[in-house]
Amino acid sequence: MTTLLTINGATRRFGGLTAVDGVSTTVAKGELVGVIGPNGAGKTTLFNLISGFTPLSAGKVHFKGRRIDGQKPFRIARLGIGRTFQNLRIFPNMSVFDNVSVGAAGMLGVNAAGAVFGGKARSEAISRRAWAALEQVGLQGLAGELAANISYGRRKYLEIARALAMEPELIILDEPAAGLNDTETRELAAFIKRLHGDGMTVLLVEHDMGLVMGICERVVVLASGRKIADAAPEVVRKDAAVLEAYLGVEE
């Protein structure tokens, strides 16, 4: 198994607060890793460190053997990291299809000269990718709809589709199941599993234990910015520290 992502002593401070504190872990190609932890544990911050939205205070991040910390988000994205956001960030005044096309366009590259004089090859490639991503999440029926007009649950899939249209090697999902009901969460779980089955490497933050424990191969637990566990779900589930910090005593 080849390592795709290596996080080495990642640290991020905000003033006096250390949101992420010396976290190290690796993600191998094809893995499905869950990240859990109490609210404010630093999960989103960790994702922002990986995708370049927040600079590291200390530590290193490597992707495919290349150091990526300190790089601009779009460069990191182009290396093959797609992401979604905890607070849904779609492009509300664009159609569903156009939203997704941006993911494809970002990876395939667009420029002014190409847009004016270029042949159809590039735009068809973008179209096909975007369409494939939409089909993957089952939104093709809403392709022409304005994104602001579709429901919350579908926006979640839209955001995922947009990341998929990038055809990334690693996809980071920040709380994809938030706001979905149990049935929808199951569908999502199945969807992520399928994605994983197709060879995608997934890094997933989620508070829905059913989802995390059900599909993840490995779970990283953060609390107060520190990694307190990093193991298979069955192990983590019984870890005293994790129970104490995060899960609470289940009935």
Binding site: N39, K43, T44, N87, I150, A178, L180, N181, T183
Partner: protein, 235 residues
């Protein structure tokens, strides 16, 4: 008569009607859960109740007074508070200021009752609300609604984005608040949790209430189990 009475409520967005005649009763000290898939109009209902959306038809009565299409500030003044979807906190203001605003004329009078529920907020009092983590923002949103000692509390997906420990805490909290005589209307995707604490529940589909009844009954209704509880009967 119920504390909050909704009769034949119609709400439209532009030309499109979203709620086609909703009836709900919320009794004194009662908890009612609203279930329904994404996009059926639960949030639209909640917004209409708080006076954010205009009502095209039907009536809303709070403690015998007609509040249909009353401005949102008078509705809040009459004791109907909401922790809305999307949090709607004041991102550029500090956590403390958010809470003061939640308290309205009472200001921070109830801070000592609210803060212990969410100790982490106590540590973040001076921080800009927008820089909080997702879950912290959700806590702030709920805490803010509690600052005013509401008579009717509307919670739109309160457990969204909260860690499991806190989800449990939220539902316990809902039960506790009811003890103080507050009536609660709660919209939840976590149907299991909501049905456990609720007295009654209603299921919405396509802008209508399609099923209503005592929560315990609904929790065992095969249709509910199939659609919202992932096929397993709630424990």
């Amino acid at each position: 008569m119920a504390l909050l009475e909704v009769r034949d409520l119609h709400v439209s967005m532009g030309v499109q009607e979203i709620l086609h005649g909703i009836d709900i009763d919320l009794g004194e000290g009662e908890i009612v859960a609203m279930l329904g898939a994404n996009g059926v109009g639960k949030t639209t209902l909640m917004r209409a109740l708080s006076g954010i959306y205009r009502v095209r038809g039907g009536t809303i009565t709070l403690a015998g007074e007609d509040i249909t299409n009353a401005p949102s500030h008078t509705i809040v003044a009459r004791g109907l508070c909401q922790a809305p979807e999307g949090r709607q906190i004041f991102a550029t203001m500090s956590v403390r200021e958010n809470l003061v605003l939640g308290g309205g004329p009472q200001g921070l009078a109830r801070i000592d009752e609210v803060l212990p529920l969410f100790p982490i907020l106590g540590e973040r009092m001076g921080q800009a609300a927008g820089s909080l983590s997702g879950g912290e923002q959700q806590m702030l949103c709920i805490a803010r609604a509690l600052m005013r000692s509401p008579r009717v509390l509307l919670l739109d997906e309160p457990s969204l984005g909260l860690a499991p420990k806190l989800v449990k805490l939220i539902f316990d909290l809902v039960a506790r608040i009811r003890e103080q005589g507050v009536s609660i209307l709660i919209v939840e995707q976590n149907a299991r949790g909501a049905l456990r604490v609720a007295d009654r529940a209603a299921v919405m589909e396509g802008g209508r209430v399609v099923l209503a009844g005592p929560a315990a009954e609904l929790a065992n209704d095969p249709r509910i189990v199939e659609a919202y509880l992932g096929g397993h009967v709630a424990g």
